[in-house]
Symmetry: C2
Subunit: 290 residues, 2 copies
Amino acid sequence: MPHLIAVDWGTSSLRGARLDEAGRVLEEKTAPLGILNVPNGDFAGVFAAQFSDWMKPPGTRCLISGMAGSRQGWIEAPYVACPAGPDELAQHLHWIESGRIALVPGLSDEQADVPDVMRGEEVQIFGALRLAGLSDGLFVLPGTHSKWATVRGGRVVGFRTFMTGEVYGLFAQHSILARTLELDAPLDESAFLRGVARAANGEGLLHNAFGVRALALFGRLSPAPSASYLSGLLIGEELQQQKLPAGSEVIAIGASTLTARYGLALKQRGVAVRTFGAEATWAGLRALQP
Amino acid sequence: MPHLIAVDWGTSSLRGARLDEAGRVLEEKTAPLGILNVPNGDFAGVFAAQFSDWMKPPGTRCLISGMAGSRQGWIEAPYVACPAGPDELAQHLHWIESGRIALVPGLSDEQADVPDVMRGEEVQIFGALRLAGLSDGLFVLPGTHSKWATVRGGRVVGFRTFMTGEVYGLFAQHSILARTLELDAPLDESAFLRGVARAANGEGLLHNAFGVRALALFGRLSPAPSASYLSGLLIGEELQQQKLPAGSEVIAIGASTLTARYGLALKQRGVAVRTFGAEATWAGLRALQP
């Protein structure tokens, strides 16, 4: 198998890895050149500046996942509909240079009245499946827009997006709660888990979020732990919408600061968690090699 | 009974009415002098500038409800705990000038782990009860922070706040959804009710809000109706948390543009609505006259 340059080109950052024939990572790089930060929309120029050295050896291929394949990206690689696995993605690679550089399409779930979409997370899921030696599982990819995906027989059969990270930011920066939050405080696990537990009361986020203010008014939640409490409320609200029987397992993929929070919250609900990071992206892109 | 000057001094506006002995409204005024816009915190000065003429007749009394009695207001009038009715409020008026000018305390509900608070809405509820000739009911006061209150025997026995209006603003102004919303478009009832119905799917706001973006991506929701759809999602989410058997009645108090939306949403769920506006505030303050 030829050398692979694996690239995850997201909204805010551009990450790449150079893999050898056996799929081992030889080198990684990250630049703050997400698709929203590409000067003059010159994707080819940014790509060349970052990766032309890596692309020199004859036969080297590059696969690019993430928002680079969206309408706001390099070229739109249309979504592949669920259920879909690595084979369906590999069949729909969008070649920028034939046999050399390709965009990986995202997935759509159009089985409900309202469609859902992901770009990049599908590759991480297929990579984690391979690394874990699994063909079935429930996956969470926390972030600005968290994804929950169900995999059976190696294919994503359905998924849903939750605006958890973005709504946390909205509350923390722009809402009335911003006044009482100390955003730089380190994670307070006890306050975080208090928020997770609170979210299980079934009264909904619109009510529970106001509790952050009411608790502060009554001096029952100080600024330092209140950001952790709000984070727990939001992640707990996301968990409310999942079918998570005690004793089940969830595979969490993402930055360790985030997957650690999901691990705490899921453990409180009696659910086991396995976590993967960037290695899942590289393994997933390798799984798509033609 | 002496003449009453009824004042609702809220966060963003100051509203007053001059009532005669029989409680008829002789005159009303509104100024953009909410508690956050009082120059140098000179509440006494603003009050005098707005109301000294009205206060001239000997024996005239003024009762002030709303955020003027909060920690950020004129003087803090501590919350009265639920259950509470007009008698409890009247007993805890906070006199600024004895027998002449008083702040009405707000209500707190400390029956749950997390407390809840209101300031001003309690007066509107007691006014609406009097105007409707009722002593029991379920009330909604839509707004930035909507309140749902249960009244039995003329007393508020419990209530909960929902950040519905504020979260609508956060999504509309600061979130990824802002790009696809046309905020100036008139209410599209069909899109609004589609959002209300969608909120009943039990998948939660964090997921359903992302649907606004996904529908737009697939060309299945255009910018003009999408703000109405989002409004329906949020009000529908608020309704999800209420016990509303079909055939029940809710009393909605507030600006008619908002109570009309709640009326549409509640009607879709088979719930009848009666609405009241500013008259409820004046009737409520009159009910507290010593």
